[in-house]
């Protein structure tokens, strides 16, 4: 990915700013060299403190609690301030934002990292927003929606009618809570990740992995006879081909959630990388003249990311609904075949 980025930079610098003399490289060596790749990876990665911004040498940082478990040593909790700037505390230190023990023994890191903190904030926000929406319904009953309720109602109805009903069929109601939660969870966190100082939560593979695993588990636990019949005795396939088809179908079960995991992770991370890359151009060229161009591009990408934020939430929810729909389907009628397609779904890849 670093190489790709470099290639992108080269391409951009040669095409757009070819007439700009790159005399700045000589001066760059005398100060601390700016490494865009490192900066970007730092921004999209997780960390044990929440770094807001720096003014000169003053860093405005919120130190978050570290919770580490070591077999034989037990649980140790302390502020990540103790580990700032490579310090060692309680036999623990940070190596590239990774908690390791000094003696090399195994450390299970359950720290409230920046992403966990952001996760908690988004959870609180989700609860706050949707209990408020629910209060609107409790207050107005079957009357017309107002305020925040009228903003979210069309989206909830969209998820119910266009995603759940169409993909799952008559049994959709059981899965509505998960589909709605996953939709708004991804959307809210995508938007929070786009805010200045926000954490890249939905662009973190651990988060998308968990969501995809939950989808897989729900699919497997709600699967019926038809689903397994389709896998072990695919209709319309000659018996001789079954030794090939069964492994393919079994791999398909895993590939579907895997594609969910990678799609969300890659889309959100890529968006962050591209935005940060445009911002980095200013520091690479060390020229204020580049700023308007790179800001314009950055703004464009950011606005595009606003669209991607809801689009990815929609795609994740839709595919989840389709996978569930494929598992609970009663008849394998060709006209009704909504879910259960191949896991890759190239048409949706962003």
């Amino acid at each position: 990915m670093k190489r790709l980025l470099l290639a992108l930079f080269c391409f951009l610098s040669f095409s757009t700013f070819a007439n700009e003399p790159t005399a700045t490289t000589a001066e760059a060596t005398d100060t601390e060299e700016f490494n865009p790749g490192e900066m970007i990876l730092h921004h999209i990665g997780d960390s044990h403190e929440w770094h807001w911004f720096s003014l000169g040498n003053d860093h405005y940082t919120t130190y978050l609690p570290v919770i580490a478990f070591r077999p034989g040593h037990g649980l140790s909790t302390f502020s990540s301030h103790q580990l700032a700037e490579g310090k060692v505390y309680d036999g623990l230190k940070l190596e590239h934002e990774h908690l390791v023990s000094e003696d090399g023994s195994k450390v299970y890191d359950f720290s409230i990292t920046k992403n966990v903190m952001s996760l908690m904030l988004s959870a609180a926000l989700l609860l706050l927003v949707f209990t408020a929406v629910a209060r609107g319904y409790a207050k107005r009953g079957t009357g017309a929606p107002r305020g925040i309720q009228s903003f979210f109602e069309p989206i909830i109805i969209f998820v119910r009618d266009e995603v759940a009903k169409k993909s799952i069929g008559p049994k959709y109601e059981r899965y509505m809570p998960y589909l709605l939660t996953v939709f708004f969870f991804i959307w809210f966190n995508n938007l929070m990740g786009l805010m200045p100082g926000g954490a890249n939560l939905t662009g973190n593979i651990a988060v998308t992995l968990t969501l995809a695993l939950i989808t897989l588990l729900i699919t497997l636990f709600s699967s019926n006879k038809n689903y397994w019949h389709h896998i072990f005795a695919t209709p319309g396939v000659p018996k001789a081909l079954l030794p090939i088809m069964i492994p393919v179908e079994l791999i398909g079960i895993v590939v579907k959630p895997f594609s969910l995991m990678v799609r969300l992770f890659a889309n959100i991370t890529a968006g962050h990388i591209v935005t940060l890359s445009f911002i980095s151009l200013i520091f690479i060229f060390r020229n204020i003249g580049v700023a308007p161009v790179s800001l314009a591009f950055g703004l464009f990408i950011n606005v595009l990311e606003l669209l991607v934020a809801i689009l990815q939430a929609y795609i994740f929810t839709l595919l989840t609904a389709m996978y569930i729909g494929g598992a609970v389907e009663e008849h394998h009628d060709a006209d009704y075949q909504m879910g259960g397609g191949d896991g890759a779904e190239p048409a949706h890849a962003h």
Binding site: F110, I112, L127, F130, A134, M176
Partner: protein, 164 residues
């Protein structure tokens, strides 16, 4: 690369927090919201259906009214016709009866007159007979005395008798 390696801690927190959010939202947000939406949709649907039904009923009612009106008109015509027929029949009957009664009365009167006449004639005949007998008797009595006187007597008797 670091960014494609999932961290155990984050997976743990994600499972815990997402699970809590899912459970809380399910019971405190999605269930009331979805049930309210359903309720509202069914109430709107019910109202629409009821409006349709009311329209249909109105149409039926209107059609029924018209039918009733037409029936009533027919009935009225029929009754009118019947009544006219009956009245004319009655008049006819009355006329017939009156005529009959008239003829009957006239015949009766005629019969009565005839009877009276007969009775009267019979009486006149009797009286005349009686008178004749009386006169004859008196004449016979006077005959014995005087001729002239007899004549005189017959004359006076004749004078006395006035034939109606």
């Amino acid at each position: 690369m670091n960014i494609v390696t999932p961290e155990l801690g984050l997976i743990f927190w994600q499972v815990v927090i997402f699970g809590i959010v899912l459970l809380l939202l399910r019971s405190f947000a999605w269930k009331p919201i979805l049930s309210s939406l359903k309720e509202r949709e069914s109430s709107i649907e019910g109202a629409l259906r009821m409006a349709d039904q009311a329209k249909l009923e109105m149409q039926e009612l209107k059609a029924g009214n018209e039918k009733l009106l037409a029936e009533a008109r027919l009935e009225r015509d029929r009754i009118m016709k019947e009544a006219t027929a009956m009245s004319s029949q009655l008049i006819e009957q009355a006329k017939d009866k009156a005529n009959e009664e008239g003829t009957r009365l006239i015949t009766q009167a005629r019969e009565a007159i005839q009877n009276e006449k007969n009775a009267a004639l019979a009486e006149v005949k009797n009286t005349a007979a009686q008178l004749s007998i009386d006169i004859a008797e008196r004449i016979l009595r006077r005959e014995l005395t005087d001729q002239s006187a007899q004549q005189q007597l017959v004359d006076s008797y004749l004078k006395e008798v006035k034939l109606n």
